[in-house]
């Protein structure tokens, strides 16, 4: 063993330029502190006598180290044969040859990891999107492209104010439960924006949207790319299992479809599916009240006659909609306020309590009442629909 180690060292001695390298490249042999400076000297000042002396010095040092090392190994050798196997494989692995390609690969990886290369030479047509979306279809690059529009809606148009965002936990799964409003639901996106902008940890909210929008062309795939997920138990459970922050609107279609005269009066909260889900997955609930959404497209009447034939449940009638055509669907610039309530911790209940219908009903009502109270308070405080 010692012999095979010595051979390359002897060969090195004949070539003064590279002499220090073997000691450097061999991980087991800890180089003495003087070696790096020696190398620098040798490269900078190739005075022959000096170099020869230093080579000899270094050689003896290395030999000493090798002998020492071999002794160490022999003592270890008795204990287990792991180090011995390593010893036999190390000498042929000359430090100069295999290191180079690896280093080059690293630089290529580094180049790819910066956005520059992809931006400049990325696959044709893929510059406006990521090559890979997450498993629920959210595309961060695409969202970045449309972000200015939503920023405008958030900052300038609806002038959203968020109160108590820090009640949303900094990490871990959590369910935001909010009231649903507006003929065209912007509330999911605004809730996402609010948490992303105002929360200290800038968390990502995935909101669960009605099936209906996934039937429509453009609307479904667009909302999916910017973060909406179809509302169903399986999706919610999978999201919560991955520790995501999920927003639900338990009123569902009944929330969007309520008339202006019923504004800010919460509808039935489904069958309490969200509470069962939270009990099963032990997820805390944060109630959220959204003020301002109801006045964006105040619905005066619903026309349900013949609309099924077109695949929509009803035709909304607002002061502007059928009258001005599609332009009438533009939301009114109302002032929006988001209120985040106290988190409801369900840790105390076991997973089996999800089957307890009385408990589920009570908790559902508790959440509903919390949101309704926040809404009533906010509506009472509000002086103007447009300026808050």
């Amino acid at each position: 063993m010692t012999e095979s180690n010595r051979k390359p060292a002897a060969r090195k001695a004949a070539r003064p330029r590279k002499k220090a390298k073997p000691a450097e490249g061999r991980p087991q042999v800890a180089p003495p502190p003087s070696v790096p400076s020696l190398e620098v000297d040798a490269v900078e000042r190739p005075s022959d006598a000096d170099v020869a002396a230093r080579i000899r010095e270094l050689e003896t040092k290395m030999d000493e180290m090798m002998v020492e090392h071999a002794r160490e190994r022999e003592s270890q050798h008795d204990l287990d044969d792991g180090p011995r196997r390593r010893l036999s494989t190390v000498p042929p692995a000359r430090p100069s040859a295999p290191v180079m390609p690896e280093g080059m690969l690293d630089t290529a990886r580094e180049l790819l990891s910066t956005d520059f290369y992809l931006r400049k030479w990325g696959r044709l047509g893929l510059r406006n999107r990521s090559e890979e979306v997450d498993e629920f279809g959210h595309d961060p690059v695409y969202e970045g492209k449309v972000r200015p529009f939503f920023d405008f809606l958030y900052d300038r148009y609806f002038r959203v104010e968020a109160h108590g965002v820090d009640r949303v936990p900094a990490e871990g799964r959590c369910l935001l439960v909010a009231n649903h409003s507006g003929t065209l639901p912007f509330d999911g996106m605004m809730l996402r924006m609010a948490v992303q902008k105002e929360h200290p940890r800038h968390r990502d909210v995935r909101w669960l949207a009605e099936d209906l929008i996934f039937h429509f062309p453009f609307l479904g795939s667009f909302s999916n790319r910017v973060g909406a997920v179809r509302a169903c138990q399986e999706n919610a459970e999978r999201l919560l299992d991955s520790g995501a922050l999920v927003a639900v609107f338990p009123e569902g279609m009944k929330g969007i479809g309520k008339l202006y005269k019923d504004r800010y009066r919460l509808q039935r909260f489904g069958r309490g599916g969200f509470v069962k889900l939270c009990l099963r997955t032990r997820t805390p609930i944060v109630p959220v009240a959204i003020l301002g959404g109801e006045e964006t497209n105040p619905m005066l009447a619903r026309v349900e006659y013949l609309t099924r034939a077109f695949g929509i449940p009803y035709l909304p009638v607002t002061p502007t909609f059928p009258l001005l055509g599609p332009v009438g669907l533009l939301p009114a610039p109302t002032k929006w306020k988001l209120f985040f309530g106290e988190p409801l911790d369900l840790q105390g209940y076991g997973a089996e309590s999800a089957d307890d219908e009385i408990l589920v009903g009570r908790l559902t009502e508790e959440v509903r009442a919390a949101i309704q109270a926040m809404l009533d308070h906010a509506v009472g405080e509000r002086r103007s629909v447009w300026f808050g």
Partner: protein, 344 residues
């Protein structure tokens, strides 16, 4: 004592080197590759390839029988062969990878053929049946969850013969599992298979220069690499895991990204119009699939491969995106006529 000898026999059959595996549809893509990979597996003693067409991958261990499953006498012949060869496991892969105009023949092959196989398997007391199925049988719907598990009902358009036959075939396999509890029945539902050598409805769709899409719809899709598909079949032959498994690659891609990565141009068509065009095109044999397949260009049909990972121990080597890129690299050569092969 009898239990011990039974156990020993079981062990000898599953673990020993005298296992005999029959492969139906052995000349098809999955079949021929499975025969080839089993050839090199020491744990398999003999392979019985069943296909009317010559099996090119057949080697030293393989015996080929030219049995046509659409033949009315197929059942008796199969039972005879299975018993004579003392077959332990059947890999039933005689299914069509793309829809055909010969619907009556396809029905005989897939639905009735599976009946022949299951009945013959009971006759010959075969211990295990591994069957190939498709995640598309879940059906593409706007109301699907993002990840369909094996518990989800199969809601493929039943009016379409291509799906109806496969649904019936799965039903037959499940019946076999119910009627003879000793038989291990594994059904592997694969996602659309992509790769450098495979040919099916989806590769033909992506081979077009202009790829039709549904205007305003951009569903998430997933793929399985052909190597993973073969590996999953091989794994199911080796391991005794009864049940249904989704075999899918990791990750999902929007369809529009798939088309861009394939270097194709998408042609968005409003979906009511597309139904008509597809119906006419299918009758005129200009398009590769009947109009009922258009749903898969509009809605989600993505399956969750978690159960296969846990119980079957199958981990895909390629993600959906890698499978697509591997297919694309071969397709580029085909585009410039540098690569040509007979579709399997």
């Amino acid at each position: 004592m009898p239990t011990r000898s039974n156990e020993a026999a079981q062990l000898a059959r599953t673990d020993g080197r005298n296992r005999v595996v029959a492969v139906t549809g052995a000349a098809g893509f999955l079949g021929s590759n499975l025969v080839g990979s089993l050839e090199e597996d020491d744990r398999i003693a003999r392979i019985v390839a069943i296909d009317p067409n010559p099996v090119t991958t057949a080697g030293r261990k393989t015996r080929t029988y030219a049995v046509d499953l659409t033949d009315p006498t197929a059942e008796a012949r199969l039972a005879e062969i299975l018993a004579a060869e003392r077959v332990d496991t059947i890999a039933h892969l005689a299914f069509l990878a793309s829809p055909t105009h010969a619907t009556a023949w396809a029905h005989e092959l897939e639905s009735v053929g599976t009946m022949h196989v299951t009945v013959a398997a009971r006759h010959a007391q075969v211990r295990k049946l591994v069957m190939w199925s498709h995640t598309w049988l879940y059906g593409a719907r706007a109301s699907n969850p993002n990840f369909l598990t094996e518990k989800h009902p199969l809601r493929a358009p039943a009016g379409e013969p291509y799906f109806a036959d496969k649904l019936e075939a799965e039903e037959q396999a499940r019946k076999l599992a119910q009627r003879s509890p000793g038989v291990v029945v594994s059904i592997l539902r694969t996602a659309p298979i992509l790769g450098p050598t495979v040919h099916n409805a989806f590769t033909r769709y992506l081979a077009r220069k202009l790829v039709p899409t549904m205007m305003g719809f951009d569903p998430l899709v997933q793929f399985l690499h052909e190597v993973d598909a073969i590996a999953a079949m091989h794994l199911a032959v080796l391991r005794d895991t009864p049940g249904t498994f989704n075999v899918v690659g990791d990750g999902v891609l929007p369809l529009s990204t798939v088309i861009k990565l394939a270097g194709r141009v998408s042609v968005p068509i409003p979906h009511p119009l597309a139904e008509t065009i597809a119906a006419v095109g299918w009758v005129a044999q200009l398009v590769e699939a009947p109009p009922s397949f258009l749903r898969y260009l509009r809605f989600l049909c993505v399956a969750d491969g978690d159960k296969a990972r846990r119980e079957l121990g199958f981990t895909p080597a390629y993600t959906s995106r890698e499978a697509l890129l591997d297919f694309v690299s071969a397709q580029r050569l085909r585009d410039v006529k540098l690569l040509s092969e007979n579709p399997a």
